[in-house]
């Protein structure tokens, strides 16, 4: 058994990345993820890697672009406004098919928002926040243990498919301390094989490699070939966790911190005799659409619990595809769900109406905003 230690989320993540073979980190200070670059600054050199405090998030992601092009396990981390700045580089990484790890410890938005934990960047992460047709892996841990262990999975899948990977967590998860253990031995990247596409030196006449983002006339072929990999990922790499989904009446769908509150709701539901289950997507892309669709055929209602204004619920509705009514229990702008508030919403979902169910158009009924110039 691996040793259990008490760690802060951000530090578990940083240590987990180094153990997973990360040997290049570039980042820019932003709350609530500062412990990640601080940990890297303290420990990366000892691991034989490089840490650079970049002049901006734009520069940090482009340093990752350069490092990743050499086959190095490279990483950057930030929080919401900083991740917006990184979108240019993420689009280029996707276009150049470079594996890497990007972390978003989400905070309240839009704009500078606040520094509370939030889940408002779901669209940005899962829709490809930069320009062009692309996807990136999005992993959503819900514990300090997962924060520490996900970097390894992220690098392995990112490298297998040549698709950038993001760990999407939030400020609370990054800041909280939990008992955790690493489920793998530290990886020495020197023992990992080489990529045939990576930039290198001393090649002894091997053909030259170009890593490039401009595809010109080959763009169509390029995008179609990437689409095949995307399809394979959607078939083979979906990850999720289920609780009490056998014979439940209300199926909760939630990821990250929201899913932790759902666990409390599940316990309370049993006490009250309500049949509530949970499906927690671990990969937000690829999304567990197939399984959600199967479960939707067996339940009376589906309730999405998210710390945003109705983002995850869109994927859930697409997955359910009319098989069951889908409701939204929303906690945007740094609000946090509790087991009690979720259970109230679950009871409302069974009735089809009531407290805790949020619908944008009903919410603004009778409201008549008079904007414009005076």
């Amino acid at each position: 058994m691996a040793e259990k230690t008490l760690r802060k989320g951000n530090e578990a993540l940083a240590e987990g990345a180094i153990r997973a073979g990360c040997r290049f980190f570039a980042g820019y200070p932003i709350t609530p993820q500062n412990e990640v670059p601080e940990y890297m600054a303290a420990h990366m050199a000892d691991a034989g890697g490089a840490f650079v405090q970049a002049e901006s998030e734009v520069s940090a992601i482009n340093m990752v672009y350069g490092s990743a092009s050499t086959g190095t396990r490279a990483m950057t981390s930030s929080s919401s406004p900083g991740v917006s700045l990184k979108q240019e580089g993420i689009s280029y990484l996707a276009s150049a098919d470079l594996p890497c790890l990007i972390v978003n410890m989400m905070r309240g938005g839009p704009g500078l928002g606040n520094i509370a934990g939030a889940q408002g960047d779901y669209f940005q992460a899962t829709r490809g926040g930069g320009n062009g047709d692309y996807h990136i892996f999005v992993f959503a841990p819900n514990s300090v243990e997962e924060l520490g262990n996900f970097p390894k999975m992220a690098y392995e899948l990112s490298e297998k498919y040549r698709i950038p990977a993001m760990i999407l967590a939030d400020g609370i998860l990054g800041q909280m301390m939990e008992s955790m253990s690493f489920n793998f031995d530290p990886i020495d990247p020197k023992t990992l094989g080489k990529f045939d596409w990576a930039l290198d030196i001393h090649k002894n006449g091997a053909p030259k490699n170009n890593v490039f983002s401009y595809k010109g006339d080959n763009l169509s072929a390029d995008v179609w070939s990437r689409a095949k990999r995307y399809g394979q990922v959607e078939r083979e790499e979906v990850r999720f966790e289920e609780r009490n989904t056998e014979e439940c009446d209300v199926l909760l769908v939630a990821y990250g911190l929201s899913s932790r509150a759902c666990l409390e709701a599940l316990t309370k539901a049993q006490e009250k005799g309500l049949k509530v289950g949970l499906l927690r997507p671990i990969t937000l892309w690829p999304f567990p659409s197939k399984r959600i669709n199967e479960l939707a055929g067996k339940v009376k209602a589906v309730l999405t619990v998210e710390q945003s204004l109705g983002q995850l619920v869109q994927d859930v509705r697409l997955a359910v595809n009319g098989k069951a009514p889908v409701y939204l229990n929303a906690y945007p702008a740094g609000d946090t769900p509790s087991g009690e508030s979720i259970l109230t919403a679950a009871a409302s979902a069974l009735k089809g109406e009531g407290e805790g169910l949020f619908d944008l158009q009903k919410y603004s009924e009778g409201f008549d905003y008079k904007g414009g110039r005076k």
């Binding site: 734009v58 520069s59 350069g66 490092s67 092009s69 030196i201 030259k208």
Partner: protein
């Protein structure tokens, strides 16, 4: 049979797309010669920019990467820090380096990244069709400065070598031109030194090359050379601005 002259081994056989009279091809060749003479061809990794030299990744025989506009110095930083034994260059134009990528070049110099930067200053945006660059001269006409650059509206040109020379991390800064055989020879020497500095571990080295763009200046190639000499060199005097690696 003795070979008297040939193309540098560090360049590929891919035909270059540059316009007639353009300076890019000359600079590519000088870089190729410098890399060959220093015998570092198997250690070089290059970063191509966005702009006229976007296809430079296919012209150099070494492994190359092409990234986002202005980010060359950040990309080169990532490569060099991950592969310190590589000789890394970033090739950039004036819009790329002195406008959208100003933060990247300043901080790469401040950190004294061990990279070689070749900066092509032709005072115009070439690939996009002749818009005003940060280095466009006062009074010079561009498609986005149709009446000529007016400093009260559009500010003054940016002198990169002078500006970077204030940074302790910038170890070698020289401005050269490729308008005459004599200047081409001097440019070769500077470019070679900028690569040699990296071999020696001296620190951040940048060569600014005043280059001609007859297409977007709207003049014939000969007149473009005249423009470099009479106009550009007034705003951008040639010379060494920093040389901390000097023996």
């Amino acid at each position: 049979m003795t070979i008297i002259a040939q193309k540098p081994h560090s360049l590929t056989d891919v035909p270059m797309h540059y316009c007639p009279g353009c300076g890019h091809g000359i600079v590519h060749r000088l870089m190729g010669e410098a890399i060959d003479e220093l015998n570092i061809g198997d250690k070089v990794i290059g970063v191509a920019p966005v702009g006229c030299a976007v296809f430079a990744d296919s012209y150099f025989a070494c492994d190359m990467i092409q990234g986002a506009h202005g980010r060359g110095p950040a990309i080169a930083t990532g490569i060099k820090r991950s592969k310190p034994e590589a000789i890394v260059f970033s090739y950039q134009g004036d819009g790329d380096l002195a406008s959208i990528g100003m933060a990247e070049i300043v901080h790469a110099a401040a950190r004294s990244e061990h990279i070689t930067v070749i900066f092509i200053n032709n005072a115009i945006y070439g690939m996009t069709g002749g818009q005003m660059a940060p280095t466009t001269l006062v009074g010079q006409v561009a498609t986005t400065a149709p009446k000529g650059r007016d400093p009260l509206l559009q500010g003054w040109p940016i002198n990169i070598c002078e500006m970077l020379s204030a940074l302790k991390g910038a170890k070698y800064l020289e401005r050269v031109a490729v308008d005459s055989p004599q200047h081409v020879m001097a440019a070769k020497k500077a470019i070679k030194k900028a690569f040699e500095n990296q071999v020696k571990g001296i620190g951040f080295s940048l060569v600014e090359v005043l280059s001609q763009c007859p297409t977007n200046w709207g003049v014939d190639p000969l007149k473009s050379l005249e423009f470099v000499r009479t106009k550009m060199m007034t705003q951008y005097p040639l010379g060494v601005f920093k040389d901390e690696g000097a023996e």
